[in-house]
């Protein structure tokens, strides 16, 4: 089954983490992706997103032209920083992969695990 992993963290995490530590975690994230590709559990590397301050939202507006506003869809304390698509036998498998996400060592981080709609089997 395929799952999206959405990597989240507190909006002010970057200010709270020592830059050397952040650098070191970043390196391990790079290795994590290499390993995922090599071992085949990463189906799609996805993307790392730029910070929420760079976001723009286009919203439904009652039938007229959709409205464009500054900012992410919802202003939250925690933000999505990136996503990837992984392959696992079941949710336990996907959770096991998510638990190895190097960023999780830092407080205020999380990974949402959600199955994708399987269009091939519908």
């Amino acid at each position: 089954m395929k799952y999206v992993l959405m990597f989240t963290s507190d909006v002010d995490l970057n200010e709270k983490v020592d830059p050397a530590r952040a650098e070191e975690v970043y390196k391990r994230i790079f290795e994590w992706f290499n390993q995922g590709y090599a071992e085949g559990w990463i189906v799609n590397g996805g993307a790392e997103l730029q910070p929420p301050g760079t976001a723009t939202t286009v919203r439904h507006s009652g039938g007229g032209d959709p409205v464009v506003t500054d900012g992410p869809y919802v202003e939250l304390k925690e933000v999505v920083g990136g996503f990837s698509v992984v392959e696992a036998d079941d949710l336990d498998g996907a959770i096991a992969i998510a638990k190895t996400w190097p960023h999780l060592e830092l407080p205020g981080t999380g990974v949402e695990v959600r199955p994708i709609v399987d269009h091939e089997n519908m």
């Binding site: 089954m1 036998d89 079941d90 949710l91 336990d92 695990v113």
Partner: protein, 405 residues
């Protein structure tokens, strides 16, 4: 001879023994939600048919056939190809005795108690899929509206199928963590049943919990905590005939007629606790069982070894540093003398989550006991009144009102 109540008890025990096996075996051919729904329908059919005509010679096979037929109907009706479309053999050819093993039921139990499912739904799912209760029975037992419960369970089953939660016993380290979740659900099940007044439902849920704890322990004999929980539940269950007075008032441990305790059950619990101890892997359920055993071996309240109990609570804190444990420990300390009671009172008044505890009736009931022990009876009375305002449980309310009268 046996009356309708005994017949129902027999029916319940039979269904309980077979239901989980049927669901587990169906999950091999069908998605979990189809397997569970099909079995649930078969259980309702069984209740109607067996009450009228008596149970069949091979109740497991009957249930299996009925559930299998229902599952096929469900798949056909919904046009779902995802029900593992291998040729499903006709029931007569497949093993008509449901597949062996507590192993299957254990897998089901671990699946229903998966951390990806909301804690409040794990119990409902377990009661339906593993024990074979109907939604109506669960709703009656726990006084929740049936429609709310049904909706919650339906959502959980959808999640199980959509997100790929497998009904399987985890391996290695994961097993220990997940086992604690499972044991907790069984523990909650027992407590919820235990707190309700007798005679309001047609199932003895406390007995069901004791049975389930046994199933888990015998399936995982090298896991000390499983034996610990089984022992703990038996020790508590042993006191059932002494817990309520004729008018349904709760009788406190201090006042219970110990001659009404089930000594055979206590002896059995001792064996279980010994098995646990041999594994040399202490944990919170074993320690709680040891505390319950202290009460069980005391011939009266006055002869209780409070020092031993207080020591055990100290040990328990290392495994479970929750406020509930601290409260219970404080009560034990209060029996070691007014000096200890005063210390205990200071301790619980200084608990970090004091604000949250203010809304917890047992917090006030504990304070009341301590205040009484140090002679501050007016404040004790106030604390009891707070406790009364906060408890929703009828039996506890009656007890508190009685104490305040």
């Amino acid at each position: 001879m046996s009356g309708p109540a005994d017949a129902d008890g027999l029916l319940a025990a039979t269904l309980r023994e077979e239901a989980g096996r049927v669901v587990a075996s169906l999950t091999r051919r069908f998605d979990f939600d189809v397997a569970e729904e099909a079995t649930q329908t078969a259980l309702v059919e069984a209740l109607v048919s067996w009450r009228a005509d008596g149970p069949p010679d091979r109740p497991g096979a009957w249930l299996q056939r009925a559930a299998h037929r229902n599952a096929l109907d469900l798949v056909r009706a919904s046009g779902r190809r995802d029900a593992l479309a291998q040729r499903a053999p006709a029931p007569a050819q497949s093993s008509t005795e449901p597949s062996s093993g507590t192993d299957d039921r254990l897998a089901l139990l671990f699946g229903c108690c998966h951390p990806a499912l909301a804690p409040e739904v794990r119990l409902g799912l377990t009661l339906r899929a593993v024990i074979g209760l109907t939604t109506a029975q669960i709703a009656r037992a726990f006084l929740v509206p049936e429609t709310t419960l049904a909706a919650r369970i339906t959502r959980a089953k959808k999640k199980i199928v959509a997100s790929g939660i497998t009904m399987a016993v985890p391996e290695g380290e994961a097993l220990d963590e997940r086992l604690d979740d499972v044991l907790t659900v069984v523990w909650v099940m027992f407590n919820e049943a235990y707190l309700s007044t007798t005679g309001t439902q047609d199932r003895d849920l406390a007995a069901d919990a004791v049975w389930l704890a046994d199933v888990v322990a015998t399936s995982l004999p090298r896991h000390a905590e499983a034996w610990g929980l089984a022992a703990l539940l038996r020790l508590q269950h042993a006191r059932r005939d002494a817990r309520f007075s004729a008018d349904g008032t709760l009788v406190l441990l201090a006042e219970q007629d110990r001659s009404r305790w089930d000594r055979a059950e206590i002896a059995r619990a001792d064996d279980l606790l010994e098995r646990a101890a041999k594994l040399r892997d202490p944990g919170r359920f074993q320690i709680q069982a040891a505390i319950a055993a202290c009460h069980a071996t005391a011939s009266s309240w006055n002869e209780t070894d409070w020092f031993q109990i207080a020591t055990l609570y100290d040990l328990l804190l290392a495994h479970d540093p929750s406020s509930v444990v601290r409260l219970n420990r404080a009560v034990a300390l209060s029996f070691l003398g007014p000096h200890q009671a005063a210390t205990a009172l200071t301790e619980i008044d200084a608990l970090p989550d004091r604000e949250r505890l203010e809304g917890y009736h047992l917090f006030h009931a504990t304070r009341a006991a301590l205040l009484r022990a140090v002679g501050r009876s007016d404040e004790a009375r106030e604390a009891d009144e707070r406790a009364l305002m906060l408890t929703g449980n009828e039996a506890e309310q009656r007890l508190l009102r009685h104490r305040l009268a």
